[in-house]
């Protein structure tokens, strides 16, 4: 199964490999195919002699090479994806096996044909196979045997064997052995690889510290490489010759060589400078670098500048020339900046990361050094070193802004390490701010911890220290609202703010604390109370109001009692100012003040209701009753049910005071308003509001308003008699104002026996007192409608009186005797008839004089008095025509006697009436008719002539 996987993987890999490099694979396949084909042919040969077998050894070697190539390729490919170094040998299993096979084949050949012509060649092939694919260390031995077998020093096989042996020794670091063979090899000037052999020889000399020979050999190699017949290895030579000079202790000669021989020696000068530096030639290194810089500058070879900077950095770092290092770093910052801003220059920036790393490493090193020195030197440090470190961080920030936070932190740490705390703190703050910006929690944490540690040392002036502490605390809770340290910070930060009087900030902290640690509610409530105390101390009413809103919406779960207490405190604070104004007499300003509190949207309903109520009270004190009512209503609207209930006594008093201030209209509105609000309570206050409402309406002659109150709000009363009283007042009102229609409607609407009784007497009074015939007729109709027996009698009497009055006129106008001739019998008859009429009148109407209708009784009595007066006068004054004087005298005397009797009756009526009126002091309208002069009523009317009083004489 594993094998299958390998096959599959291999196939897959092959496909991919084909896609990427088909030619290479093709070449290997072709070669392998060719080897195999030829091998097959040779193997199939019937007679296999040493020549043929040697060829077969060559083919085996070739196949070995191809297999190794394949194994190596597989190994390399695998190395790309996994660490296979430990299993390396397993990749070359095929190579090893085939090597053994080839080796056996060669040994067999040597054994079969010990004297064969090709023996040396077989040994050479086996030596190289062992060198390249084997692990049996037979290379040297077989090569030496080869050399031994080939006696001819000019034989190419011998040259190849010597070259291979020289290389072998070189690789085995047996430089002296190698030198002896290379020196032979280089004598074969026809070898195209001659420069290579010189080059290897030069290395061998170098290794055995024969520097002059080494330099000569390498310079020869350089010179030979320039000759076309040889392979040019000048790149290798140039890469190494500088080092040769350095090793030889003559680096400036190397510099000279390069400058002299190469048009562009810079690629070789920088490694040489490095090497020179490493070998301790500081001065020379500097010269090489300066020469290099000159070349760059002279030729505008900016492509080398970046690398050259690095060479400088390495150089300065090597010799601890930190200031120079920093200067170069500064130049590099400028360089990279230029590269970024001026793209046309195409300045290389490939090594920027390396530059950063170098600066960073050095800055770190120096920082540690600084701290170390500080400790060792008892608290002193070199200012210049400090500056260098800080500059490095600046350069790093410029070059590597993505790690700015880190450098800022290090800057803070640097200051801290040298106890420059005043500089450290702002540096940490910068770091925190940057960390927040780039969301780097790690550095936020570090910097804040450092800052906390620093502030905890209390080495900075107190105010400044507090400032930094506040920063650290604030940022800490801001970044990690729920964190072990933050949990401790909240109360501390709160306390700092509170002590500084920064209530807003303190409350913000508290809010955050509550949000993150709701489980610490009790502590938070305590803290909040402190803030509130602060507000109260400073009379910060708006803030207090704002918090009450918060509490009401549930913040910190304060109890209802606490909130209410706070509201009351707030109210007291708010009102104090205006109450003082009012006390000073400036009530108008006080009222306006209360209004302003009410209108401020910041304040709670409770405060609003209180302020509106105070406004109402103040306006009332200003006698501005309408405004007072307006504010009273607003206050009421803002009150809770409980508050409304608690204010009822005051509301009543204010309503009463309103009418005492002569504003009955507003008092009526107020009483109606409150009556309606608390109808269901049915208590004494309700009763009083009811009474006030009815009373004020009637004072304003608003009968409809009073009636509405009775009709709509009588169900709000505790005592039903209040309704009866109100109805009686309304009745009285209609009666006083003489409003027949109103009274009639009232009695019909509220038909109590009491009203009905009173009603008929009122109507009776009006009937006789009022002159309006229309009203009289209406009253008569109403009497009829009442269907009361007594009233029916009254009606009959009125009717009788009317008839009597009419008949009285007729009787009074009737002449007893007016015949031209006196006839005694006829006269007696006429007199009798008249007297009978009077008699009849008396019989019909005398009952009217004892009517219960006082006016009617008076008028009727007066009527009879008038009737008998008229009768008496008429009889007394009869002077019949055609009667002689004597008879007339006797007749007149007799008639006067008769008439006198009637006049006496008339007087009797009058005196009886006057006596009755006097005795009873009757104040009936009818009596006025008696008290007339020339039938003219008395112009004295008690109301018109009466006087009101203002004072007593004692005043």
């Amino acid at each position: 199964m594993h094998k299958l996987n390998v096959v599959i993987l291999f196939s897959l890999f092959s496909t991919l490999a084909q896609a990427s490099a088909p030619k290479a694979l093709d070449r290997w396949t072709v070669l392998m195919t060719l080897v195999s084909k030829e091998m097959k042919i040779l193997e199939n040969a019937k007679h296999k002699g040493p020549e043929l077998k040697y060829r077969m050894l060559e083919l085996h070697s070739e196949r070995l090479k191809l297999l190794h190539e394949k194994n190596n390729k597989d190994f390399m490919e695998k190395s790309k994806t996994a660490n296979v170094s430990k299993n390396k040998e397993s990749f070359f299993q095929e190579t090893r096996e085939y090597y053994q096979y080839t080796k056996q084949f060669g040994n067999q050949l040597l054994k079969e044909y010990p004297d064969a012509r090709r023996r040396a060649e077989v040994l050479f092939a086996m030596a190289l196979n062992s060198r390249d694919y084997g692990r049996d260390n037979i290379t040297e031995k077989y090569l030496l045997e080869t050399i031994f077998l080939v006696k001819d020093p000019h034989h190419s096989l011998r040259h190849h064997a010597e070259t291979a042996l020289a290389d072998f020794y070189y690789n085995e670091k047996r430089f002296q052995d190698a030198i002896s063979y290379y020196e032979k090899v280089i004598t074969k000037t026809e070898d195209e690889w001659l420069p290579k052999h010189y080059f290897n020889l030069s290395w061998c000399y170098l290794k055995v510290r024969e520097f002059d020979k080494a330099i000569k050999a390498i310079r020869d190699s350089y010179a030979l490489s320039k000759i076309r017949q040889y392979v040019n290895i000048n790149d290798q030579v140039l890469d190494n010759i500088g080092s040769f000079y350095v090793y030889a202790g003559r680096p400036l000669e190397g510099l000279e060589f390069y400058l002299k021989n190469e048009k562009d020696p810079i690629p070789y000068l920088m490694p040489m400078a490095k090497k020179t530096s490493e070998k301790g030639h500081e001065k020379e290194t500097e010269e090489i670098l300066e020469a290099t810089q000159k070349l760059v500058d002279k030729n505008d070879w900016f492509q080398y500048q970046e690398e050259l900077f690095h060479s400088y950095l390495d150089f300065y770092r090597h010799y601890n020339r930190f200031s120079d290092h920093e200067q170069t770093s500064r130049s590099m910052v400028a360089y990279y900046k230029k590269a970024e801003t001026d793209k046309k220059l195409k300045l290389k920036t490939d090594l920027k990361e390396d530059s950063i790393e170098k600066m960073r490493t050095l800055a770190g090193f120096l920082q540690v050094k600084l701290a170390k020195n500080m400790k060792e030197d008892g608290g002193s440090y070199k200012e210049q070193e400090m500056t260098i470190v800080l500059n490095f961080f600046n350069h790093l920030i410029a070059l590597d802004p993505s790690h700015k936070v880190e450098y800022l932190y290090f800057r803070g740490e640097t200051f801290y390490s040298v106890r420059r705390f005043l500089d450290a703190a702002p540096a940490y703050i910068d770091c925190v701010n940057e960390a927040k910006l780039v969301k780097n929690d790690d550095y936020s944490h570090k910097a804040l911890n450092s800052l906390l540690s620093l502030t905890g040392m209390e080495v900075i002036e107190k105010t400044l220290n507090t400032k930094y502490l506040v920063f650290a605390y604030s940022e800490h809770i801001g970044i990690w609202p729920r964190d072990e340290k933050s949990e401790l910070i909240y109360p501390k930060l709160f306390e700092i703010y509170r002590q500084a009087g920064l209530d807003e900030k303190a409350s913000i902290v508290l809010r955050a604390y509550n949000k993150s640690y709701p489980e610490h509610l009790t502590e938070q409530q305590t803290l909040m109370t402190k803030v509130l105390d602060l507000f109260i101390d400073r009379k910060e009413t708006k803030k207090l109001a704002s918090w009450i809103h918060e509490f009401k919406s549930g913040f910190l779960s304060f109890s209802k009692e606490t909130i209410e207490k706070t509201e009351i405190t707030l109210g007291n604070m708010l009102f104090l100012e205006y109450q003082a104004l009012a006390k000073q007499g400036n009530k108008a300003a006080a009222a306006k003040g209360f209004e302003s509190i009410y209108e401020n949207p910041l304040y709670t309903a409770k405060v609003k209701s209180q302020s509106a109520f105070f406004a109402a009270l103040t306006y009332l004190e200003l006698s501005e009753t309408e405004k007072s009512y307006h504010w009273q209503v607003l206050a009421f609207e803002s009150m809770t049910l409980e508050e409304r209930m608690s204010k009822r006594d005051e509301q009543l008093k204010m309503t009463e005071r309103t009418y005492k201030l002569q504003d009955f209209v507003t008092s009526f509105k107020m009483s109606g308003f409150f009556l309606k609000q608390f109808c269901s309570l049915k208590d004494d206050i309700q009763n009083r509001f009811y009474e006030v409402a009815v009373m004020t309406a009637l004072v304003e002659e608003n009968a409809e308003g009073a009636e509405n109150v009775i009709r709509l709000h009588s169900n709000c009363l505790k005592k039903p008699e209040s309704r009866e009283n109100a109805l009686a007042q309304l009745y009285s009102f209609f009666e006083k104002t003489g409003d027949f229609r109103g009274l009639r409607l009232h009695v019909h609407r509220y038909p109590s026996e009491e009203f009905k009784n009173q009603y008929r007497f009122t109507l009776q009074k009006w009937y006789w007192e009022r002159s309006s015939l229309n009203l009289k007729e209406q009253i008569r109709q109403e009497f009829k409608a009442l269907k009361n027996p007594e009233v029916m009698v009254w009606l009959k009497e009125i009717e009788d009186y009317k008839n009597a009055d009419k008949l009285l006129s007729e009787l009074k106008n009737e002449t007893i005797w007016e015949q031209l001739v006196f006839d005694g019998e006829a006269y007696n008859k006429a007199l009798e008839n008249h007297l009978l009429k009077v008699q009849s009148f008396k019989q019909n109407y005398q009952h009217l004089t004892s009517s219960t209708q006082t006016d009617l009784a008076i008028l009727s009595t007066r009527m009879f008095s008038s009737l008998y007066l008229n009768l008496g006068e008429k009889i007394s004054n009869i002077k019949p025509k055609g009667m002689d004087a004597e008879t007339l005298k006797d007749f007149s005397a007799a008639m006067k006697q008769v008439g006198g009797q009637f006049l006496g009756v008339s007087r009797q009526f009058d005196s009886q009436l006057v006596k009755a009126l006097k005795e009873k002091e009757t104040l009936a309208w009818g009596s006025r008719s008696i008290a007339s002069v020339e039938q003219i009523e008395n112009p004295v009317f008690s109301f018109f002539t009466g006087l009101t009083m203002d004072k007593s004489r004692e005043d």
Partner: protein, 273 residues
């Protein structure tokens, strides 16, 4: 245009009409009730002699609205003073706002414990009831007023007016002859007695009281009307006419009606002559 003129006249008449008779007396010697009422104080007297405060006087000087406002504004400082509510009531009385006047008189009754002030309030309330034609109730109040403060003259005078109005002349004379009015020169007291004797038919005594009334006062419509009747009774029709012609019209409807009747009668009598 015609209708507009008519309307204007109506308005003018309406504005002139009053419920009461203006009886200002400038000479304090003729006002024996001066120390109880300002009602008859003329402008000059008010300005010179009134001891009372502005609020009281202001009402009698025709500034009722302003004065009432002033009372209102001084509520806090004065509502406990004895006369505060009474004077407000009087101001409304002068303003002819009877229901409010009545209300404040009743307030006075409720608020004060002083008998004299109660008596004053009762007197004024009595008068209000006369306005309502509640004679008996008015009388009761006046009697109560007199009972509480027997030395007051005004309630006596007022009840005499009630007696006169309802023909109880002897009662009126009895009240006005009380020692309270002894040696007085009061115009209204003398007029009331003249009136009472006239209506009683005692022309001689009536004449004696008419003689005590200053000539200027005969312009007052109630006095003029009564005196004209006196003259008529004495057969002095022309003189009666002169008196009626010289009268100052009160604007009181009831009085105007009586005056018109008298004038009519005078005209008839003159025609008969």
């Amino acid at each position: 245009m015609k209708s507009i003129t008519f309307l204007f006249l109506l308005l003018l008449l309406a504005s002139c009409s009053s419920s009461r008779i203006d009886r200002k007396i400038d000479d304090v010697a003729l006002d024996s009730l001066a120390d109880e009422t300002y009602l008859r104080w003329g402008e000059g007297r008010l300005k010179k002699n009134a001891k009372s405060e502005y609020e009281v006087i202001g009402c009698y000087q025709g500034e009722t609205t302003k004065t009432l406002k002033s009372f209102k504004n001084e509520y806090l400082s004065k509502n406990q003073t004895p006369y505060y509510w009474l004077h407000i009531g009087n101001c409304y009385f002068i303003k002819e706002n009877w229901s409010k006047a009545e209300f404040f008189y009743r307030m006075t009754m409720e608020e004060t414990k002083e008998k004299t002030i109660k008596s004053i309030a009762l007197n004024n309330l009595g008068l209000i009831h006369f306005k309502y034609e509640q004679w008996e109730k008015g009388k009761e109040l006046l009697l109560e007023s007199m009972k509480i403060a027997p030395k007051f003259k005004v309630p006596r005078y007022n009840i005499s007016q009630l007696y006169l109005q309802f023909g109880l002349f002897d009662k009126a004379i009895e009240v006005l002859n009380d020692s309270a009015f002894k040696g007085h020169k009061d115009i209204d007291v003398n007029f009331s007695l003249a009136n009472a004797y006239l209506y009683k038919g005692d022309l001689k005594t009536s004449a004696s009281y008419f003689q005590m009334i200053p000539r200027d006062s005969f312009h007052r419509e109630d006095i003029a009307a009564t005196y004209a009747l006196f003259l008529i009774k004495n057969g002095k029709i022309k003189e009666a006419k002169e008196v009626m012609d010289d009268r100052e019209r009160s604007g009181v409807l009831e009085l105007t009606t009586i005056s018109q009747k008298i004038e009519k009668m005078i005209a008839l009598r003159l025609k008969e002559e």
